[in-house]
């Protein structure tokens, strides 16, 4: 794992959080979308908040695809969850909002979960050396245990 790869993971966290927040803001402005007016869902794209959200999510997607090309899915995914922590910390220290004890516990759980993954290997080694159709002996022994 190089510095640049950690930057890509940070990009995943920040861009997905920003994109989701913008989308949520836009959808709240539009109100309920029901099965009766499906066109409302398509027109949602015209809302500027939704448009901005989609642009951020596209940038997120590029980072995400790049990360998936050199790391396992189960390694990359927790990076996206750090966004929740990011939002809470911005709310606490940027906007001086109160954070309840349960939320702090949630932050601690997510952070430790990410730490658990980050401390381990980023990619399953067998894939790069063996034919992908042939599971490694380790994967086989795990299969037997199932």
């Amino acid at each position: 794992m190089t510095f640049r790869k950690y930057l890509v993971l940070a990009g995943i966290t920040v861009l997905s959080t920003a994109g989701d927040s913008l989308l949520a803001r836009g959808m709240k402005e539009l109100g309920s979308v029901s099965l009766h007016n499906l066109s409302g869902l398509l027109l949602a794209i015209l809302n500027p908040w939704v448009t901005a959200g989609i642009l951020f999510l596209l940038a997120f997607f590029a980072c995400y695809m790049s990360a998936l090309s050199w790391a396992d899915l189960t390694y990359v995914l927790p990076a996206t969850s750090l966004g929740y922590v990011l939002v809470a910390l911005i709310a606490r220290f940027g906007f001086h909002e109160e954070i309840s004890p349960t939320r702090w516990l949630g932050i601690a759980l997510i952070a430790s979960g990410v730490g658990f993954v980050a401390a381990g290997p980023s990619v399953t080694p067998s894939r790069q050396h063996l034919d992908s159709r042939e599971p490694s002996s380790d994967a086989l022994s795990q299969e037997v245990k199932l």
């Binding site: 090309s69 899915l73 993954v117 381990g120 795990q142």
Partner: protein
């Protein structure tokens, strides 16, 4: 009724985004390290190679369905229910799917992490 719709949307999000993640991860592993490829052959080679991977389009479609299901869910249920519920369930579903379909070595470390993150996401919403 609104609740049922919200949970149906959550279930759909979990199913389709897990499918999408697995397909996209599979395609990107086939493409190989994007950074290396970019350095050697340029960005067009990267884009071309990604677009020519058939499972990539399928994964993208699954993600599009997940995206619209999430928009549906957001219009029915609260942001504080729909997002964390679908996110935390997706983490666990992805760990299972990555192990079965991608043959990733999901060791004890990653199981614990998936459960911690899923639990944390739920607590954040309470």
């Amino acid at each position: 009724m609104k609740d049922i719709c919200a949970w149906a949307a959550i279930g759909l999000v979990v199913l389709t985004s897990t499918t999408g993640d697995v397909l996209l991860s599979h395609s990107m592993k086939r493409v190989g390290d994007v950074g290396e490829l970019w350095k050697r052959r340029g960005v067009l080679a990267v884009v071309g190679r990604v677009l020519r991977t058939p499972t990539f389009a399928l994964g993208l479609m699954a993600m599009a369905v997940a995206f619209y299901s999430l928009l549906f869910g957001l219009s029915w249920g609260n942001l504080s229910l729909v997002v964390p519920a679908s996110a935390s369930l997706t983490f666990v579903a992805n760990a299972v799917a990555a192990r079965i379909f991608l043959h990733e070595r999901v060791g004890r470390r990653r199981w614990i992490a998936a459960l911690l993150v899923a639990g944390g996401v739920v607590l954040m919403a309470v």
